[in-house]
Symmetry: C2
Amino acid sequence: MHTRWFNEFHVGDKFATRGITLTEAQIVDFALTYDPQHMHVDATAAEAGPFGGLIASGFQTLALSFRLFYDLGLVVESNIVGPGMDEVRWTAPVRPGDTIKTAVEVIEARESRSKPDRGTVRFQFTVLNQRDETVMTYLAITIIRKRPEGSAD
Amino acid sequence: MHTRWFNEFHVGDKFATRGITLTEAQIVDFALTYDPQHMHVDATAAEAGPFGGLIASGFQTLALSFRLFYDLGLVVESNIVGPGMDEVRWTAPVRPGDTIKTAVEVIEARESRSKPDRGTVRFQFTVLNQRDETVMTYLAITIIRKRPEGSAD
């Protein structure tokens, strides 16, 4: 997809990403460095735990789901910064072999009052697995540049 | 520190972690897989960007700040699951060579109505750099087990 500048995002716009499959090795590798809880690194302990087996760190699901959106190419040039997220919820486990994909909807687009070259776009992210079950939801706030003067894109 | 069970967390309890230094290699390695925006992987492009140089992915700062808390050992045995986060805000960039640490405060502790073995604890996380500037804040929701019957710890 082409770059979208601020004025090209409208409330209700929807985007869907490709999927990505999480292997057991990827889940354990990420967790060893970033989130070494039993349920993410120790298959035996995880079996006896609340999910009955290894599950991915929620931080890994979060980052990958945003990357899938980023890979669409919409905001590669236009994104200035992401100041935050709200209502982050992990609603179902992601297990080794699961394939996640991201559905994104624009829920707000507001021009900056102080900086005329940009606006704030709020996106509702829904992360789904291969059975179309929702595994995670969040609202991401992004600051998006308006089309630069003289830009042809 | 010893495990703390649900009833041992009280509103106003505060915890401080050790620090961790992020190198340029760690920032780029994480971002290549999880958040390949220019500002996180391309030092030259980042120099011309809004932060004037490479900065860490906010997802990396988030995961590391939670790991620092986890490494205190308080919730290693007592944490059941983390259903979500609210009001996640990245307030200042984390640059190569910066050292981050986490300050955590209990802002709510509420017994479960349906499950007598657990309660919900809400923690305010504040991530600081080596100059004690706040680089990130968030509220984390965790489900914490009560002390198991017969447990000596």
